[in-house]
Symmetry: D2
Subunit: 382 residues, 4 copies
């Protein structure tokens, strides 16, 4: 790369966890410059964030419409190349659509939209504009997730029979939204979060991760969503039986009320000849069990893992890399792809999730909600 | 106890894993003498096992009918006090029923019978005879399972919201039965194993364990049983969504095709204020996560666990006790209860599973099979 | 075996932890009958223990001298074949010597004697009488310790360069002996425990374990013993730098004041091509790290371990075996060896530590004490 | 901060692991701009690195002397504020001394110098100039190291009795230097690495970590350094018995030949009332064992840790932070302190190791080497 690519941001003001993560991830590999933003719908808060980020005053905007209009008027090489959308869910679609319309490439947080119908419209728009679209299913950025995907693809664990993927969190075990906690507030509001809290916020990561590693497709779901905390408008726990194509079966569990669990995403994939196990909280380790030899513990950045995994690390083995580094892998791949595209390579593609994964995610969420509301498969014991 | 109680055994000849376990468990605490047995339907094999056990020739019998008849004719203090039934599933009911008819107390392996209907008949018979009946859901014998139960009962983790219980094994990932492997052979034969392999063999342990610890009752199930290995007559993998009474939800997964998994029974119980986690393969540890304090690791035989747990250990902390010791706890409690009963205490009761748990187990299995065959809750994605 | 071998016991009355362990270990495999004992120097306590063990009154003796005399007068096939000595350290030598003089085979707890000089006299006596002598360095009975030994012997990890062996315990962090706690009382009394608490009680296990697995010999030590608890007459913590033969180096640490540690014996062995790691508290797992391939986790009773390890298990993989089972492996090997000897095979030998290991252990302890007291740096062992 | 502070760099060209780490660490929190450098003694390599870092050509220099001279001539606000020294050991002293002479603040990698004598001269120079000096004992940047320090300081684990600190690595188990591997080459050359490989490269981290957490001082060492790989000019393994002030005892082990170990720094600290355990490879977890309650697992960014630890994290709990983030904590504290200093606060001080720690580290190394070579047992440090 001859120069860094230029990023604008929508969302991510003070108190917004995910915006800061996007910025650190974009910064880590020195390939991206943050050049402008609208960090909050509150102009004062937005300006304050801009100052903290050492941005010139004139490039902190009052609205995303203004930002897109003004940036589009700047010369290439100065204006932003892409926008990163880190707002609550309900703003993803309008901002992303407007960015595409204004000719900007897009990085967007998940879930991609509020509905499957919106998702399909966005997919259509991305295809028409041929702009880059990256959906930050960030967990696919972990080296050992890539290693797992390579292991499945190599056939070494045989045909996949069963997947168990879980995402337990405990932070929503109390009615935080009643006390106005910002993160909990919008996530439990159907108007801002969508049809399901657990499936939109974390279940969609599970579904994406299972499909990313196995390259199978979820075909049918049988689900049970529950709202445990009294007064909560959306579910805070959900379990799903899954049927993938090619006969594989799955269990998916996502929960916000799993007391004491932190960010416990984990996945196990059982093939005919081997089993893979990965835990997000110990991300540099991949456990592999075999039918015909002792079980192994693969570790990042050793001599014993594949190219994709190795390329996704920055340090020698035993020097732990974590959440930010994995997130940065998404941004790095996006930046390099964008650079090639800006240099004229129209077919440039990278290893990051896109609009198609976003459509699959919304289809998954809607099917889970529908199944959970149906009742006829339950059988009484005794 | 003034003397050891006397045990006869049906089943458990050479190559039968579980019979030897029952004998070691019965032997460990020095409260039980094995005095007679019919160890195999093959008379020669039965005699050979008898010799290896240093039993007098005349108390190794050719059939259980003969054993019950002859032992009943011996004077009290010489004849067996109870029979331990360690045969394949299809023989549990006839042998147990005959033992009760002959006036003998019973220890029986699980699942209790082949059908719910048989189970109810056996329950009726136990109630009428007032003889002791112990069903070896042996995992309830582990100290940390008792600790978990006490924790729930104490209210310290609050009302239970969610249970996740798993029992992955990998030994049935290949069609062993086709090669005549004895353990696999009968377990995959509906005529000897019953309506489900996974639910009868290991799923029933999961259901029992969840109910034992939480004191909740499984009310409804929504299940998906699969037979992955070609040509196998019974399922070898099953996942179940559960609705307990009092609004709790559960996931149960039992599998024989989980390559590389050994005997991976584990359970997590999420309450309003705390979470409990236990793994059978590291049985002396109980992880407890709290809403309002750092997570704790409880260890057996320390100063920091309850009476029930402590009474179920034999060694100081850090000296690992395992499967045999937990199994022995069932036998020890049974022996002590039987001793009190023989001394005239008709109300004697111990901490071991009985005929009611057996009925619940069979009801669970039949509901799972029925739900798995129904189809209407599945929703296609997209 | 045609009959069980017969055991007498000295020590192991109520409140004596290790006596009960020896009995369970002897009982587990059904090859040994306890036929007599003197369980305490207090006759009443001894009788009470005898009753609890369902022993005939006339075979619970008032002294070991009486027991040896009377048992020797009984006919073979009735009298005890061997004695198990489970007293505090200072009684090991006199009882063992008397047993040998009376013609009885011996199982003796460690450390073998109070001094190196006693140890050498006992060694001489064993050689002269040609009776079996087993020293219960019980940790060598664990399957994965045997697996580790086989791995080293096979050359697969290359020449051993470094050993780190630790035995942290926390139970002596407070002055329990001041409160009269029985186990702490004699262990901190030089007259009953010997020259060092940590080295005699647990350090000798470390030294033995390191030598057993590596087949190296400790040649020199450089030690630092500390008595942290005020008023304690013996050390309660000790660290030792070791020089083995063949150029290997070692660190040994044993402590009674390591708060919160339970029975944390563990060992790591670093060879030129591989590394072995084992923890007593998770005994069924052996971690092996390789120079040229991913690290492996070997598990007991799988298809992937050697014969010695497999022969030391009783259950399929994933069914945890623990401390009692490992201890029972020592007793089982002793019983089988004794049976062969009683049947006339004078050369019968088993896989259990003997009098030579006892001499090495006492030499180690004395060298550590000398080094700790001296200014000169390295002290030769033995 | 109103503006970012400006960094120059000496060392850290292609293939130099640690330079890239320093840059990522400096970049992560957006408080530091890299403005100039001399990345290699080879001018072409240096320029190439400068281009990759998007630096203007005129600020990539041919030598550190030139860089200091030219930068000093630039106006404040444009010239570099501090230099980061990431060369092999033998260049630390001359570059640092020259930087101080030219009026620049310094960040320097460890070990600080080649000899204790150099270290003391540098200490003198820092005191005279009153410039900021930061020594990157980066492991002190981990949140759970700060938590451990706070726990000790609070008195909750009581007076510290014993420390065990280890730093096993396996990457030097083969004679890599013979093949010209760059990292191994200079580290095994006394002229560029100093008197000890293991103590300089990793042992000094151990000593610093132990002193940082406990606030004890190492007073005496008794050491054994070994060179296992044939032909190697420096040791590749070393074990040290330690006597701290206040009666605490320690074991320190550092090794490059521990096959299969990655970057296994770990420490255990045993107090009268509690024990702390931390592993660099699972850095977000702190195990705490107690005399009077169950053992706890503290986790970063939960509600249950202290302020210093919390301030050292950027993400919610369960989102793993690693080596770069810990390193960045050192840089962030340095940048904030430097900013205060530049704003006129002459007394500004931060939570990062400095020149005094560097002197202690060199004293430790020299004492270890002396003890290892000597016959006398204990050698005083410093």
């Amino acid at each position: 790369m001859k120069r860094r690519v230029r990023m604008g941001m929508v969302g991510g003001g003070r108190g917004a966890f995910i915006g800061a993560v996007h910025r650190m991830a974009a910064r880590l590999d020195d390939k991206i410059d943050l050049v402008c933003g609208v960090f909050s719908s509150n102009t004062e808060k937005s300006s304050e964030t801009g100052r903290e980020l050492f941005l010139p005053k004139e490039r902190v905007y009052g609205s995303y419409e203004e930002m897109f209009r003004h940036e589009a008027s700047l010369p290439i090489g100065e204006r932003m190349d892409f926008v990163s959308i880190v707002t609550p869910n309900f703003m993803h679609y309008p901002v992303a659509a407007a960015a595409l319309d204004a000719g900007f490439h897009v990085v967007c947080d998940k879930p991609m939209t509020m509905t499957l119908e919106e998702a399909k419209r966005l997919q259509q728009r991305v295809r028409e504009t041929r702009l880059l679209f990256c959906l930050t299913h960030n967990y696919t950025g972990y080296p050992m997730v890539k290693e797992a995907r390579d292991l499945v693809k190599s056939g070494r664990i045989g045909i996949v029979r069963r997947v168990v993927v879980e995402y337990p969190q405990g932070w929503m075990a109390l009615p935080l939204e009643a006390g106005g906690q910002k993160q909990a507030d919008w996530r439990t509001d159907p108007a801002r979060a969508g049809a399901s809290f657990t499936m939109g916020d974390i279940g969609s990561h599970c579904a994406n991760l299972a499909e990313y590693i196995t390259e199978l497709k979820i075909e049918e779901v049988c689900a049970d969503l529950t709202s445990f905390v009294p007064g909560r408008a959306l579910d805070d726990d959900g379990s799903v039986l899954i049927r993938f194509n090619k006969g594989a079966k799955g269990i998916l569990w996502a929960s916000g009320i799993a007391v004491g669990e932190e960010n416990g995403l984990n996945i196990r994939i059982y093939g005919e000849k081997g089993t893979i196990e990965w835990h997000q909280m110990e991300p540099n380790t991949l456990i592999v069990r075999w039918l015909d030899k002792p079980f192994q513990v693969l570790r990042t950045a050793t001599d014993f893992t594949g190219k994709a995994s190795l390329a996704a690390t920055r340090l020698p083995s035993g020097h732990p890399e974590g959440f930010i580094e994995a997130f940065a892998n998404i941004y790095r791949s996006f930046a390099e792809t964008l650079d090639r595209k800006l240099e004229g390579d129209q077919a440039a593609a990278g290893d990051f999730p896109g609009v198609d994964e976003g459509v699959r995610g919304m289809a998954f969420i809607e099917a889970v909600v529908e199944s959970s509301q149906a009742g006829s498969k339950w059988v009484k014991t005794g």
